[in-house]
Amino acid sequence: MDSPAVEITDLVKRYGRTTAVDGLTLSAARGAVTAILGPNGAGKTSTVEICEGFRRADGGTVNVLGLDPSRPELRARVGVMLQAGGVPPAMRCGEWLRLMARFHASPLDPAALLERLGMTGHARTPYRRLSGGQQQRVSLAGAVVGRPELVFLDEPTAGLDPQARHACWELVCDLRAAGVSVVLTTHHMDEAEKLSDHVVIIDHGRVVAEGTPASLTGAERQLRFRARPGLALDELLTALPAGSAAKESPAGHYIIEGQVGPELLATVTAWCAAEGVTADDLSIERRTLEDVFLELTGRELR
């Protein structure tokens, strides 16, 4: 039982002439939350659907709980939340969840699960009459009702309002605390940073970076501010200590990296005063996963 929850080696998936997954290797530890982070079209869903047994790999190996993903015994041990759909539109969502529960030996109480997700009032509502966020929650409930060892959540919070998103995050934290392995895909870096033990950043079907959120963003801090676009950063750099860096990205948003301390702050504000520039939203922050992604790929996450 020492095999990882998911182990993927050199995975390749092609659709016609498009290569969706291009030699991807990753490992998701048992009892941990692993986030696969990347922009739309990066290969997240293809990767997860191969792990779920929906698609076959064109190359490489995939092991889920130490088994080939096509093994039927995995279906009772693995919970799945699809990115969309999966529930008959005319079916009451409480009825669907009870049906899913009846496929398992010792399921959770469907009514209690709906209550936990704030859906009690909608148990008798047909699935198609629910809002997108409510449908997502029903689908999430279906993934965990069978008390699985491992759950795959494909963009679990896409389209959720903040309240529903927090209910979902809480459930993921509780799953982890109960010893369930969680693999989720997302393009929200805040979600990956908050929830996961391990983040795998992928782009164009390949892993571009991975690690804990802290190791990816690093200990380095940055000074950020907004001002009119096109400031002469070269001049600012000459005033800053050696090893500092300054950039404008996107226009009007400035990021200064280096030894961020009182001295650097004073230098920057003094320079702004000399230039007659008011720096808005001045703050000192750690890098975010979004910055990491931008640095690694030169592209925005969303």
Binding site: R75, G85, F103, A105
Partner: protein, 261 residues
């Protein structure tokens, strides 16, 4: 299945395991039956139209059915139509949309196996057919229907007909887009209703066409049921052979071509 309540029902600690296969199949079959009986269009197709045809064509001398009471001619045809409406039309449309909405895909990730799902669908179709047969026979008996012949031969025809129509329905649902299945299944239903000896005797068609129409599964079922129930005939071997050929061919093709997504 054990369901714990209160706080224990919230215990997320892994306790994986599939329910026993019969429990899963009955749960799924129950859901399918409820869906069929709750769907207005399906009820129109499976219950209302057959009963209206039975009453209407038995009462009014719209078509020449040859000798014998009209109700004895109509009832077997309407029973055949009822079997087709549930096993073929209803099942094709429902399964086509289940495929479109990812329902089949999601079930593929559940402990219910594909063979378990097909078994559940078959059970649901047979259960709805039992309700149809009870309703239609009740109305027919009230209208003076006096069936004869072997009930076992009639049952064999209905079961083989169900297999043939299910195969055709799943073949459409598993290969075409949901909208195309909807249109196609209704078109086939109408053609079979018109040309399959349901309410219009095949003898009314030109001699050159009649032998071809006799090879349709609906003609074999309605003709076979009529031979058994109305004429008190023995085992209708020709009809069973036609239905068996359709069942084998369509189920084989469906199992080879069915796309779950």
């Amino acid at each position: 299945m054990t369901m714990v309540d209160g706080t224990a029902g919230q215990d997320l600690t892994p306790a994986p395991g599939a329910a026993p296969l019969p429990a899963m199949v009955f749960a799924q079959a129950g859901a399918e039956i409820r869906a069929m009986l709750r769907n207005g269009e399906q009820l129109l197709l499976t219950m209302i139209i057959p009963v209206l045809l039975l009453v209407g064509f038995s009462a009014a001398p719209l078509v020449n059915v040859g000798g014998g009471p009209r109700i004895d001619f109509m009832t077997p045809g309407v029973l055949a139509l009822a079997v087709m409406s549930t096993a073929f039309t209803g099942q094709a449309i429902a399964t086509g949309f289940e495929r479109r909405y990812g329902v089949l895909k999601r079930l593929g990730a559940s402990p219910l196996s594909r063979s378990g799902l097909l078994l559940a669908k078959t059970l649901a179709v047979v259960a709805v057919e039992a309700v149809q047969v009870a309703v239609i026979s009740g109305v027919a008996l009230a209208l003076g229907w006096r069936p004869g012949g072997s009930p076992f031969a009639a049952l064999a025809l209905v079961l083989l007909g169900t297999a043939a129509f299910s195969g055709m329905g799943l073949l459409m649902a598993g290969t075409l887009r949901a909208e195309a299945t909807l249109a196609g299944a209704n078109l086939v239903y109408l053609l079979m209703l018109g040309c399959g000896g349901v309410v219009f005797p095949l003898a009314a068609f030109p001699d050159s066409v009649e032998p071809v129409l006799e090879l349709l599964p609906i003609s074999a079922l309605s003709g076979g049921l009529r031979a058994v129930l109305a004429d008190g005939g023995g085992t209708p071997l020709a009809a069973l052979a036609v239905l068996g050929a359709w069942a084998a061919g369509s189920l084989l093709l469906a199992s080879r071509t069915f796309r779950w997504e």
